[in-house]
């Protein structure tokens, strides 16, 4: 049995620890990666918007790779993506075509992903963000510029994507999927036609659906929906009053219907765990194509998105990361995904629509690919003119939005 510590011993040990702490600190500092340059003046973030398009500069120390290089041999292409967001067959066909390996690492949300990439200890080649991070990725020197000669398949993609407002001359990004954010439900649990309500978003606050609802576990998507419900269309607002409204409405939501906050509605809705939720268009198609249990027909699924396109419309991107060790393979993979057959396969296995010229939105339902009850989940080019985008926010506004979201997730109001 050890002796109890005497006061003298305790004081002596505390003094030693206090003296050693700074040296401990400098020891750890010496061991840590010295990489992040500290900037003296706080740099500002250039925010791109549809009415404020941006052409990113390609810095001298980050030029695209040379033309005509051979793919890296014996390499493993590292992808960093959401789970279940890329067709396994597309990956396999790439591996066979170029005799290489592909490894996919996953993240739950793009905040987490960016923190990890910025941390610098990872060597992902290709990342799948949306354009709400492009300014940080490019300004922070994390993105690799594209050498267009490796990606002839860009001609298969909607022409607007060769000069999008968020990346003119597509210097750093290629398009991945297009999607809308609406409301999905199953009419065996929710017989009402949500789309016919005067304000369909109200259904998520309706107490008669208590315990059966869910909202998307993404701060910007969920909070923007609250704004749209209140009739406000600036979904990137920096107004304190609007943020307070969002906070109050989210608390009211928990009190009224106690929703789940998740991104797995593509499996929960078909499983019957939830009956009504905010949903991405690709998720409901994915539910219908791949996740219906035995004996349950996809006819029970429904989706609503404003017919005039005045809802949340976005696309996400393929961006190569500078930390990746396989730039040629990364270019070739982007080209592979933009191939019409591979893109169609990707559509079938993830439910998300690629902006391919060969995929005619008008014929998706008539060809039987998408069930007629989910016609509203098809993304039409006109939506991009009328819809509202989730843009990047400047750091102060981003902090304010995240604080509201965190207060909601902490159950502070309950």
């Amino acid at each position: 049995m050890p002796e109890p510590t005497t006061r003298r011993q305790f004081l002596a040990r505390a003094a030693i620890l206090a003296a050693a702490a700074p040296t401990l600190g400098s020891f750890i500092a010496a061991c840590s990666k010295s990489g992040q340059p500290s900037s003296s003046a706080p740099p500002t973030l250039t925010i791109a918007a549809p009415d404020h398009p941006v052409k990113w500069d390609i810095p001298a120390d980050n030029k695209p790779i040379a033309d005509g290089l051979a793919p890296e041999k014996g390499a493993t292409l590292q992808l960093y993506n959401y789970a279940d967001y890329l067709s396994p067959d597309a990956v396999k066909s790439f591996e066979e075509k170029y005799n290489t390996k592909v490894q996919i690492s996953t993240f739950n949300d793009t905040d987490e992903a960016l923190t990890k990439i910025r941390g610098g200890n990872v060597d992902y080649d290709l990342y799948f963000p949306s354009y709400d991070q492009i300014s940080k990725l490019v300004s922070g020197g994390l993105a690799r510029p594209i050498n267009h000669s490796y990606i002839p398949n860009i001609k298969n993609v909607w022409p607007s994507f060769t000069n999008p407002w968020y990346d003119q001359e597509w210097r750093f990004s290629a398009p991945n999927f297009i999607y809308t954010t609406g409301i999905g439900w199953r009419n065996d649990q929710v017989p009402e036609n949500i789309g016919a309500l005067p304000n369909p978003y109200d259904s998520l606050w309706d107490p008669k659906y208590k315990g059966k609802t869910a909202i998307i576990d993404d701060w910007h998507t969920a909070m923007a929906m609250v704004l749209l419900r209140a009739g406000k269309t600036d979904v990137n607002t920096s107004s304190d009053a609007d943020l307070k409204l969002i906070g109050d409405q989210l608390n009211a939501l928990v009190a009224a219907t106690s929703p789940k906050v998740t991104i797995t509605m593509y499996s929960d809705l078909p499983a019957g765990q939830i009956g009504l939720c905010q949903m991405w268009s690709g998720d409901i198609i994915n539910s219908a194509l791949s996740y219906m249990p035995e004996g349950v027909s996809p006819d029970v699924l429904r989706y609503w998105f404003p017919a005039d396109g005045k809802g949340l419309v976005d696309n996400d991107l393929l961006i190569m990361l500078r930390s990746g060790k396989n730039p040629v393979l990364a270019h070739l993979f982007i080209n592979h995904l933009l191939d019409p057959d591979v893109a169609q396969q990707n559509f079938a296995q993830t439910g998300y629509q690629p902006p391919q010229n060969s995929i005619n939105p008008e014929s998706l339902v008539s060809s039987g690919f998408i069930p007629p009850n989910l016609a509203a989940a098809v993304v039409k080019p006109e939506y991009f003119d009328a819809g509202y985008r989730l843009l990047e926010l400047d750091p102060a506004n981003d902090a304010a939005w995240h604080n509201v979201w965190r207060a909601f997730k902490a159950g502070g109001g309950a």
Partner: protein, 313 residues
């Protein structure tokens, strides 16, 4: 007949320390180095992040290694947002304490009889029962929670049983924001961690002491309450600590069985904040709070066990 007078044990110095030998020091060294490397250093890193800076553009944490340059902004942000007009974190912290308290008590009520039976009353089947008690550790915590998700789904076994063949129709959504479900999930997940230390402690109870109390006239309940329980006190404290301290940081149970802000615990606050831009330092502040909250019972435990000799003598 005179009752023999026994003088009270004197507050003598503890028995002399074992003679130090270089062998024991050498054997202990790897463990101490491991502890230093993987406990003290990371704790220091957490402190450096909590009291560090935030990158202005990316809002990723920038640790500050020199304690003299530490900046308490992030820590005070968390402290000022616990109670009061901006008290957003208070409910989650309170909820965590309540959940952990209730879950620990329920765990104890379940684990103690089981451990007592296995330790003292199972006779020849002790080995088999012990193996069965260890069996849950063969399955990961996540898989055990998955099992509950399956059972508690709207069309799962639990609701089917409750319907009792159509007599009732309970429309209970067990997996959406029900605190009872989260507490029971915690109990289910952590009860094995409580049974084993209790078993170990109860196994070592002095049988003559218990027999003596019965011989001297105490009935079963009185004997249990006045002799067995006090003898078990350090064991119970150790088992409760071993269970409720990890529970304080648990986030997975609430995520799996509820996914609702209504049952968010401190672990969920940490998990949500740590990867969010600008909030990593605040996640570290929550970690410090949980650490301090866990430290106090540990100090109490050390005190209890250091007095054990006097009780048992």
């Amino acid at each position: 007949m005179a009752v023999p007078v026994v003088s009270a044990p004197s507050r003598a110095a503890p028995p002399p320390r074992e003679r130090r030998s270089r062998l024991w020091a050498a054997l202990a060294a790897p463990g101490i180095i491991w502890l230093a490397a993987f406990f003290i250093f990371p704790l220091y890193v957490v402190l450096c992040i909590v009291f560090g800076q935030v990158d202005p553009i990316f809002r990723t944490p920038v640790p500050v290694w020199n304690p003299l340059q530490w900046d308490p902004t992030q820590f005070t942000y968390v402290l000022t947002h616990i109670v009061g007009p901006h008290g957003v974190f208070g409910p989650a912290i309170l909820r965590t304490f309540i959940f952990v308290l209730v879950a620990s008590c329920v765990c104890l009520l379940i684990a103690f009889p089981v451990a007592y039976y296995v330790a003292r009353l199972s006779g020849r089947r002790k080995g088999l029962l012990l193996a069965l008690l260890i069996a849950p550790f063969w399955i990961s915590y996540m898989m055990r929670m998955f099992a509950w998700v399956n059972l508690l789904q709207d069309d799962g076994l639990f609701n089917k049983v409750l319907r009792i063949g159509g007599l009732f129709d309970p429309r209970v959504n067990w997996l959406t924001g029900q605190p009872v479900v989260v507490i029971l999930g915690l109990v289910y997940g952590y009860v094995p961690y409580m049974i084993l230390p209790l078993y170990a402690g109860l196994d070592r109870l002095s049988q003559p002491m218990l027999e003596a109390s019965r011989d001297l006239g105490a009935d079963r309940i009185s004997s249990f309450w006045r002799v067995t329980l006090p003898l078990c006190r350090p064991t119970i404290v150790a088992a409760v600590l071993l269970t409720c301290l990890p529970m304080l940081g648990d986030y997975f149970t609430s995520d799996m069985l509820s996914a609702s802000p209504k049952t968010a615990m401190v672990g969920n606050l940490i998990n949500d904040s740590v990867q969010s831009p600008g909030q990593t330092g605040q996640a570290g502040a929550f970690v410090m709070l949980v650490f301090l909250a866990a430290l106090l019972p540990m100090l109490y435990y050390i005190r209890v066990t250091s007095r054990r000799d006097e009780v048992a003598a």
